[in-house]
Symmetry: C2
Subunit: 127 residues, 2 copies
Amino acid sequence: MVDADAIRVTIGTYCERYTDDRDGWLALFADGATVEDPVGSDLHVGKDAIGAFWDMSHGLADRVTLTPSGYVTVVGNEAAFAMDARMEMGDSVSGMAIIDVMTFDDDARITGQRAFWSFDDLKPVEP
Amino acid sequence: MVDADAIRVTIGTYCERYTDDRDGWLALFADGATVEDPVGSDLHVGKDAIGAFWDMSHGLADRVTLTPSGYVTVVGNEAAFAMDARMEMGDSVSGMAIIDVMTFDDDARITGQRAFWSFDDLKPVEP
C-alpha cells in the first residue's frame, strides 16, 4: 500500500509543475497511465499521448496555473482533489474549479487521471 | 443529457438531507443505485442496501452534517464535489473533508456514488 503522504506530494507537485515543467510533470505518471481530461473526452494512454495532451492544452492559453484547494482526500491507492485553474490569454484572465480523481501505483506515480471540469464553468476573474 | 443545474440541486439536497431526512435522502437515488462509501469498501446496491448503510453510518455519531464547499464540478451525467463533514459524539466534535464522485440518470437521480474519505483524516474541530 502506498503512503497517503506520498500521494499528497505527487498531487501538489502535479499542480506546481503543470504550468511550465512538461518533463517534470510527465515524470509523475507511470508508464501506460491514462488521462481523461475532461471526463467524457477521449482517453490519452501512455506518456507520449499524455505529453501530446499537455502540448494541446497549453496551446489554449498563454499561461495556466493550478492552485490546490484544501480538499485532498486519499483512500488507499486512489485520491480526489479540488483545485482552482487560472487561464491567462492576453489581457484576459479566466478561472474555474476542477476536481481530479486519480489512481496511483505503489511508488505514488499516477496510473489514471479523470478531470471533472467544464468550459461552461469558466468565468472571468481579476487579473 | 441531464441539466447541470439539476445535478447541482441534487447534490445540495443530498448534503442537506443527510443529517436527519432518511426517506428524503434515499429518494435522491435511482433504483439499483450503487454506493461505495468510502472508496474501497463493500458496494451497497439498491435502495434497501443504501438505507441500511444510512442506518449504520448514522449509528456512528449523534449527529452528522455535510457542508458543501464551493467545489462542485459537473460534466455530462457525472459530477464531483467537495464537502466538510462534521460529526458530533457527546461533547466531542470531529471533522474531515470528503469528495464524492457521482453518476446520475437523466432525471438527476444518483445512479452511483463513490466517497473519498478516510478516518485517518478525522480531526477534532471547535464545537
